[in-house]
């Protein structure tokens, strides 16, 4: 009987192109019943695209989809939902000012279209959240909820619709280690309940931790499907990048979760004695005028990497922007290389060697419709290298862009390519190229590798190392705790804009940091 059952999902020879770009090149995927199936690969690999095809968000050029052996045509998310497919997107698709219940019932139960009776729904939600260990308050407004809870709401949305197959797109990005454990527990409960789960991820360790089988994707193709018992971290890393990993890349591997961060030896420290950045009593408001950073002290020495670990929304953006000189400082002082910077215009910070790699690289990092050349010139448009007779010397600017494309291995059709057409990894390379062109004294990196493929992630880390060797003080804010721990000389846990704990390299325990990030730890400053 069991051997006769068709798999839960079968995707055959799926092709999807965006204009000239082939995003999916004849991809096959088989997900069995009652399994957690890992879909592993970098951001350009096509995992999310493949799942968006399954969920009806992208229309494939060709290919077949079978659910429980039945061929299905998925033309819209509605078809996918009706076929029992649920998807939790990387950016939560929620209506911020609706309650949990309202978000969950949205678009369901057409028969009750003329009334809005949510008592029944509330009961179902409570029942589901108990069954799968996803505790939420059905009446809370989602914009007030922390990321971990909002994710549970997303999962409940799918469960409420009776999903048989649940897709989770990089679900652990913003979670603390404890929350990740809880999530994996819930995933197990779903699989035991008869569901199948697809886990999209680029983190090897979590794939090994929770998946029964995994399919590795690379460059829009499915490379290999592997049983959990037949593989290990090294093997998966090899398959992901399609080559061999050298021995000097242990730190990178740790950041990607292939090995435990604790195992990484600190080989060379480039920390110098001179103080690079000194921040005292920094007070910063958020966009709504609330005081989000209530007084922050920080010292970064030259060549030192200070990592800030925290759940999104605890003042990271405000702190980063204030230290980059693009957000007003309400009180306190910021000294970079011994010079007081507060109150100066952003251009003065730039000229003094403060470089900022923002979290939202599309929105804050580039001008999407401007060319690579133009994006690279931004900020240094007044510098002598690109000026002639008081006007911009586009020839020199283009020359610079060509060099940057070469040096930073930016994959583009040339310097005239609009930056918005590049992949996330290549956009990040453009931003880094621009930052490093100024020989920064201080570099602020906010989620610098989020959504990047393995190659680009490595590239970012290599550049960070080059910068620290040159004596640059680095502030690394990341929601990827593994990354913070692996990269930083010192880790600071941030909770509600304040320091909730601090650890030197080698003494960091991820769970302890996680507790501090959620305000539960004992501060040891």
């Amino acid at each position: 009987m069991t051997t006769q059952q068709p798999p839960r999902l079968e995707m055959r020879r799926v092709v999807k192109t965006f204009g000239p770009v082939v995003a999916l090149d004849s991809v096959d995927l088989v997900v069995a019943r009652n399994e957690v199936h890992g879909l592993l690969g970098g951001n350009g690999a096509g995992k999310t695209t493949l799942m968006n095809v399954l969920y009806g968000l992208y229309r494939p050029n060709s290919g077949e989809v079978l659910l429980d052996g039945e061929p299905v045509t998925v033309g819209s998310p509605r078809d996918a939902i009706d076929a029992g497919v649920g998807m939790v997107h990387q950016t939560f698709l929620q209506v911020d000012n609706y309650t949990v219940t309202e978000n969950i019932v949205l678009g369901t139960d057409v028969s009750g279209a003329l009334r809005l009776d949510l008592d029944e729904a509330r009961k179902r939600i409570r029942e589901l959240s108990t069954r799968f260990g996803l505790s939420v308050d059905p009446d809370a407004v989602v914009e007030d909820l922390p990321v971990g809870v909002r994710q549970r709401v997303e999962i409940l949305k799918a469960l409420y619709r009776g999903a048989r197959l649940l897709i989770l797109d990089e679900p652990t990005t913003n979670l603390t280690p404890q929350e990740v454990d809880d999530l994996f527990g819930s995933m197990r409960a779903m699989v035991d309940d008869g569901m199948s789960v697809v886990l999209i991820t680029h983190k090897i360790r979590e794939t090994l931790g929770v998946c029964d089988r995994m399919t590795v994707m690379r460059d829009g193709r499915s490379v290999e499907t592997i049983e959990r018992s037949d593989t290990d971290a090294d093997h998966l890393a090899d398959v992901m990048v399609g080559g061999t990993t050298g021995p000097g890349e242990l730190i990178d591997a740790a950041a990607l979760g292939a090995v435990d961060a604790e195992e990484v030896e600190v080989t060379v420290s480039s920390v110098r004695d001179a103080v690079g950045v000194s921040v005292q009593g920094l007070v910063v408001n958020n966009d709504q005028g609330h005081e989000l950073v209530p007084g922050f002290d920080l010292e970064i020495r030259e060549g030192e990497i200070v990592g800030i670990a925290g759940v999104a929304g605890n003042g990271q953006v405000e702190l980063a922007e204030a230290l980059a000189g693009v957000r007003a400082v309400r009180a306190g002082s910021v000294e970079v290389g011994g010079r007081s910077m507060c109150g100066r215009p952003a251009s003065a910070w730039l000229d003094h060697g403060v470089a900022y790699v923002p979290e939202d690289r599309h929105r804050d990092g580039i001008l999407p419709t401007a060319s690579i050349t133009e994006n690279l010139v931004l900020g240094s448009q007044r510098s002598p290298g690109v000026r002639r007779h008081g006007l911009l010397d586009w020839g020199a600017a283009k020359q610079r862009a060509v060099e940057a494309i070469e040096q930073f291995s930016i994959r583009a059709n040339g310097p005239a390519t609009p930056a918005g057409d590049l992949s996330g990894g290549n956009i990040q390379r453009v931003i880094l190229a621009r930052a490093f062109a100024r020989r920064p004294r201080m570099l602020i990196l906010h989620n610098p590798t989020r959504g990047l493929d393995l190659g680009s992630t490595r590239f970012v880390y290599d550049q960070v190392r080059v910068a620290t060797d040159a004596g640059c003080a680095i502030l690394l804010l990341s929601e990827d705790l593994d990354e913070v721990i692996a990269m930083s000389d010192r880790v600071i846990a941030l909770f509600k804009g304040s320091r909730a704990g601090e650890w030197q390299k080698g003494t960091v325990d991820a769970y302890e940091v996680g507790r501090s990030m959620t305000g539960l730890g004992e501060a040891r400053v």
């Binding site: 998310p77 009706d82 698709l93 911020d96 949205l106 139960d109 009334r115 809005l116």
Partner: protein, 310 residues
């Protein structure tokens, strides 16, 4: 006492153009389509409503014709923004000019230049039995023409739809986060299309009401900027139908007050009174921006396969 009764009795019908047009604006706005062609659509509605009533001899037919004409413009707006994904503001402005031109042209073609301007009968009052006999309230609220009652019923209906039904919950979510709505199987294009068509139609009716309520005459410029005020009213009411009713009362009150100031010949120029709605809207936007919230995706088009917008 008599003064107040008279003021309120005048204010209620003066609310109707504001109410109908603003509820129409709010309707499409909550789905994310920001219509800016109200002034044009109201002028067109006034012209068509007048001309059809004049030719057919029925104000009711005139009102429906005005609805249909403006709804057609709404369909163009919906198609251009949901299918072709053109900028809502640009298309709206183009439609404003097109409607304005069409109105002037139609009047000249149908009526031409005449010595005595043509007249249509104004709308009859239908006092509601029993209710209209309540002292004070009956006179103020329940002794008007049918369009007045319809305008309030439509406002209530839109409120009920948006806040008391599941479809309304889904509908509002489109203006807040169309991608979330789409991912839950809610048809964004359809909702935006029907709400823009119906909403624009209501704006047309709002215009048609003007020649039918006061003088029975059609004059160029009789809409007198009410269409632009309606946009301010939508913001003032925070894009919520029930608050729009309150805002419409305020706007209409100012209008009546300005008229009376003009008639009574008080020292203040009536233009100053006419400015009050704009000033009030600005003040509300500045000081109560938390309260005067607007749909998060207002004025932005949605493209499912767009890879940039998250």
């Amino acid at each position: 006492m008599g003064e107040i009764t008279e003021f309120l009795t005048l204010m209620i019908p003066a609310m109707v153009p504001f109410l109908l047009a603003a509820q129409g604006t709010v309707l499409s706005g909550r789905a994310g389509v920001f219509n800016v062609s109200q002034e044009g659509l109201m002028v067109l509605g006034a012209a068509i409503g007048f001309l059809v009533s004049f030719k057919v001899g029925s104000n009711t037919v005139g009102l429906f014709a005005a609805f249909a004409a403006a709804a057609l413009f709404g369909l163009v707006l919906a198609y251009m923004t949901t299918q072709l994904r053109l900028d809502q503001f640009v298309v709206g402005l183009a439609l404003y000019f097109a409607a304005l031109g069409a109105a002037g042209l139609l009047y000249r073609e149908v009526i031409g230049v005449t010595m005595a301007p043509p007249l249509i009968p104004t709308l009859d009052d239908y006092p509601i039995p029993l209710l209209s006999e309540i002292p004070f309230l009956g006179e103020v609220l329940f002794d008007h023409d049918l369009v007045v009652y319809a305008a309030f019923l439509i406002s209530a209906g839109i409120y009920w739809f948006m806040y008391k039904t599941r479809s309304g919950l889904a509908f509002r979510s489109i203006g807040e986060n169309p991608k979330a709505a789409d991912s839950l199987g809610i048809n964004v294009t359809w909702a935006r299309t029907w709400s823009t068509v119906v909403g624009s139609g209501l704006v047309g009716v709002a215009g048609a009401y003007l020649p039918m309520v006061y003088t029975g005459l059609y004059t160029e410029g009789m809409v007198a900027g009410r269409g632009w005020l309606v946009i301010a009213l939508a913001f003032l009411g925070g894009w919520r139908p029930h608050l729009v009713v309150a805002g419409a009362a305020f706007f209409a009150g100012m209008e009546v007050l300005a008229l009376r100031a003009q008639v009574a010949g008080i020292g203040i120029p009536h233009q100053f009174v006419l400015m009050l709605p704009y000033v009030a809207t600005l003040l509300v936007m500045v000081f109560a921006f938390r309260w005067a919230r607007q749909p998060a995706f207002l004025g932005r088009n949605y493209d499912r396969e767009s890879r940039l917008v998250g």
